[in-house]
Symmetry: C2
Subunit: 458 residues, 2 copies
Amino acid sequence: MISPEILDSLFSPESIVIVGASHTEKKLGGIVLKNLLKSKVRIYPVNPSYEALMGIKAYASVKAVGELFGAGGASVDLAIIMRPASEVPGILRELHPWTKTAVIVSAGFSEIGQAELQDEVKTIGKETGIRLLGPNCIGVYNAHQKLDTFILSYEKLKRPKKGNVAVLSQSGAILACFLQAMRASNTGISKAVGYGNAVDIDESDIYDYLARDPHTDIIISYIESLGDGKKFIKAARALSEKKTLLILKSGKGASGQAAAFSHTGRLAGRYEVFNSILKQFGIKEAVDSDDLVDSAKALSYQKPLNRRGGQRVCIVTNGGGSGVLASDECMKQMLDVARVREEKVQRLRDMFPPFYSMSNPIDLTAHVKNSDYAVVLETLKDDYDGFLIIALTAVTGITDALAGIIKDFRETTNKPVVLYTDSNSSSRSITALFEKAGIPVYPSPERAARALKTLLSK
Amino acid sequence: MISPEILDSLFSPESIVIVGASHTEKKLGGIVLKNLLKSKVRIYPVNPSYEALMGIKAYASVKAVGELFGAGGASVDLAIIMRPASEVPGILRELHPWTKTAVIVSAGFSEIGQAELQDEVKTIGKETGIRLLGPNCIGVYNAHQKLDTFILSYEKLKRPKKGNVAVLSQSGAILACFLQAMRASNTGISKAVGYGNAVDIDESDIYDYLARDPHTDIIISYIESLGDGKKFIKAARALSEKKTLLILKSGKGASGQAAAFSHTGRLAGRYEVFNSILKQFGIKEAVDSDDLVDSAKALSYQKPLNRRGGQRVCIVTNGGGSGVLASDECMKQMLDVARVREEKVQRLRDMFPPFYSMSNPIDLTAHVKNSDYAVVLETLKDDYDGFLIIALTAVTGITDALAGIIKDFRETTNKPVVLYTDSNSSSRSITALFEKAGIPVYPSPERAARALKTLLSK
């Protein structure tokens, strides 16, 4: 296990050397410098051709930075290396003994068959004690510190809002795709890290670290292949006991496994074995990338408070068909769309027009008013474990005030509540209000049903 | 079978009586009048309190309109009825004998237990010969004629673009949800119809009509329940032989069936029976609403030209991880992500840097240039039946010109090609270009894989 202090140097550094910094955003070294200028960290850009880069004093060499730290024993928390692969061993030696951690962005190692060069880097890491992220990696993002070493500009990758989901991926491209999807689904992140070929720091080390991270409640982890299976299982189990770990495994079939190998140079292993181990230890696995993002959203908005495992679901809708689709998916997910108790049916009938349907799904029809939802939810709050609300906004009776009603219900009961709404212009404003109120909104009844299942799983 | 001429009166009327027209868009009768003013049809609004509505001469009663047609035997193609349920029988009698078809928007029939009133309406339809759509229905939309009887304003429901997909649903709310989703996914529609309680014209009649409709190639049909199962099977089979019929059945479980009954007053029947009949006759069924919309999009953009049933798929990507996810899903869908032939591997190796991966998925990495896709596709065009292209736009080598390259490939080979791209700002412009070029774009690798499966199914 890597000490938390070391990984603090990686995720919350106070000082950074940028090896291969540039004056222009046309180069990676310029993008990273610009992104880092947004944080409050001390920066030492290295570039032999410039005296200053983006208004910051530049250093002619790594050595020149090292001289600042030589005698006093002071050190730099993090180095970011963006030079060609062949130069990386030499750079690492120069960073010693005054650098704690290094992100090796450079590609050109095992993933293209240069295993010897990668082994050399690994060995130097061990010899010097510099803990390494990468090589062939996109870097580190810490939303709560505004730390951003990503080699992607904000133009190319708009960052999601700050939140409680940490995102891990070997692949930087996949990480970027997930971050985009999370931004689109209005889910906030705490930390994001692409660890590439993982010669040193790997998913397991980061799991250990995130288990103690106060900003992180949910961890989503995309895995193509594992270096050390036993270490992974130990860390994943320990993390799952404290927080929600959600894994998306790729490379499930033979061709996928071959692709995963050539992508990261690590063996994917047989998926069936992986899958059965996760099951055995109760670690959650997503079916595909939509499922990963949808589940992370649900868990980010609401804590599953369902330790006794109740699966009784109430669906309240103002569109009959959407209610039926939600009900079908709930049953597919083994949720119990249980009938409304006769006594409650009578109580509701006394308050509503005769054409409202009081079976479950409860259909308030196009004649619905906001307050109808309040009446139904208040009446049935003790009879169900989770609630799926459908609010189609094309009818006049539904207004923005519905968000407040559902929010109050959620806060009183603390039971899982998810929402499906259609996608016209008035639904966009109401969606924002719901999500501000802590109710995750999904773009189809089936996706809402699956999200509710996530929140009702132990 | 209803004669095509009669259904022409419904879908392409030249004259319309609006019973319950209004001067204000605050009422359904005003929304419908305004929507119809966009078409070139002759309109006869009926409202006893106004001499004119929205600049059109109004008539005090249905009779007053009938007097225009009395002696000469001339007739009105379509009546739209938006008066309370109890008035509907009387209105229908007054529309006789000069009206061919009627859309009964009014609710308050079997869906709220008023079966007798519904039977009366049905009987009057038979006696008078007026063919009826509804009651309890949203109406008819014909994109190629700009005919729009929907009771939803454009503000509440932006219509999708004109295209080749017809959409059928008993439920108007579901129809609206699908139309919104199709608009968001950039899929064009030919006709859309909500047929409600279906006392007369039902899905089967509309299938027969659409089988001959030159503007419609794909039909998506949402079904909660069936009135006449045998009639449905006959019409669905006949339609499937000429065009692609894609069904989404809801009410699959016990609670869903109960809900479907209270929603439309028709029995849903056992899903297992329905499902096995569809399979037997080769009628396609969607898994859920996302699948329905995604499949319709694929089929709308490209004709499946794969009568021999080839399932060999080539994945070309510039993001390794996304390629692996696509590959996993292809295998789940029983597609064959077959290895690249050794001879072709060699040919490609000669043209590309050593770190490009030439197994399938073919990974062109972040170093990709547009022209690399052209080289790969040209080299492998005869070896595969379908192509899944992944273009992550965060890298500099991918530009808008890629759309032209993929378009040329598609036009030369006529083989199914689908695309996944990420969702940043530069991808939005390239997505528009791809879709203009006839290549459907999907928001996740797995959804792209499922769409390719749709195009490779017989």
